[in-house]
């Protein structure tokens, strides 16, 4: 199974993108599962994803000091045995870094995971302000990505989008950057075509 790992700060648009991408892949008949890890003790994303008719697993280690690694690996192994999805999409919590999650998967490999791609979601409307206050987190999220998706371009000013893109290019040189308005179907279709492996889409 292929794994797509979505990271990005709280509220950056991970669930929104996952809903759209996973529904597209599921519509082509593929087995998709979304694993979601929310911080805090009240989980809402799992229900939002289920309302989109997706197969969902919630990692309920609600406290932010708990390690999600073992729970994640257990969930993946369970899926491997019982559901055999073609694609697993993981929504990391908004305060996790891709590196932290990948480290867990390298420590406890899951046999059938054939490839992992990391997507970091960057909220263009808040990027500058968030980076100023939460520098190490925001920068580590960007540095750990294979692809950056800059969201909310419909709501941001042109200058905000440019500032986010420029900073991202400096922090993660050579990493592709894709700007989206999550309500625009056409851009999301292009993103889905690039992100969802061909064998899953077929």
């Amino acid at each position: 199974m292929d794994v797509l790992l979505f990271a990005g700060f709280l509220g950056s648009g991970k669930t929104t993108l996952i809903l759209s991408l996973a529904r597209r892949a599921a519509a082509s008949g593929s087995r998709i599962c979304v694993i979601v890890n929310e911080i805090g003790e009240v989980g809402i994303d799992g229900e939002a994803l289920r309302m989109g008719d997706l197969e969902v697993r919630e990692l309920t280690a609600g406290c932010i000091c708990c390690q999600i690694g073992p729970d994640l690996v257990r969930t993946l192994r369970n899926l491997e045995e019982r559901y055999q999805p073609g694609l697993v999409i993981i929504e990391a919590s908004g305060v996790a870094t891709p590196g932290g999650v990948l480290e867990a998967l390298h420590h406890y490999p899951v046999k059938s995971v054939t490839g992992i791609q990391t997507v970091t979601v960057v909220d263009s409307t808040r990027f500058v302000a968030l980076r100023e206050v939460l520098t190490p987190l925001i920068e580590a999220q960007i540095r750990g990505a294979d692809l950056i998706v800059v969201t909310k371009v419909d709501e941001a000013t042109g200058a905000e989008v440019e500032a986010a893109k420029k900073a991202v290019e400096l922090l993660a040189p050579g990493i592709p950057v894709f700007a989206v308005d999550a309500t625009d179907d056409a851009t999301l279709a292009v993103l889905a075509a690039g992100l969802i492996p061909e064998e899953v889409r077929a």
Binding site: V42, G62, E103
Partner: protein, 157 residues
């Protein structure tokens, strides 16, 4: 092994004494609110939007340094409405099933998560209580609120 969280956040328990000005304190706050059965309908969109916007503004006035994400889900019968807020500039955005008018004949359940930096959960709890009181009392809707240990919206269904 690290899960990548420890460098950036503080544990969510036992920090009630941390001053509100600690900019990087993130104490995830969650509550489950039960709305008692009532005759009237609830305009879910209007209620949830006002709730998140009131709580977000109160958090900023109260000293929060960063709004992370406020999100909630109300379920009444087989209808659900979601609402999210990530900045007071954009305000809250809601979506759900039907026209948003929820029957409270059998009551309703509201799950709310407030993820803001710089305020202890106990302070957020007070602000949430104030907002609920000012929105629900004029409508004559009785409610009760608790801070669960772990609640995921699908649990118990």
């Amino acid at each position: 092994m690290s899960d990548g969280l420890h460098d950036f956040t503080l544990p969510s328990r036992g920090r009630g004494e941390t001053p509100a000005s600690t900019p990087r304190l993130l104490e995830p706050y969650g509550a489950r609110v039960v709305l008692q059965p009532a005759q009237q309908e609830l305009d879910a969109e209007m209620f949830l939007k006002a709730l998140l916007e009131d709580v977000a503004s109160a958090c900023l006035v109260g000293g929060a340094s960063v709004i992370g994400h406020l999100k909630c889900l109300v379920q009444a019968g087989d209808r659900r409405w979601f609402c999210n807020l990530t900045s007071t500039r954009s305000g809250a955005a809601c979506r759900g099933e039907g026209d948003g008018r929820l029957s409270l004949q059998d009551g309703a359940r509201l799950d709310l998560a407030v993820l803001v930096y710089g305020l202890p959960a106990s302070t957020i709890d007070g602000l949430v209580g104030d907002a609920l009181r000012s929105l629900l009392e004029p409508l004559g809707i009785s409610w009760s609120k608790n801070m669960p240990s772990v609640v995921h919206a699908s649990a118990g269904r």
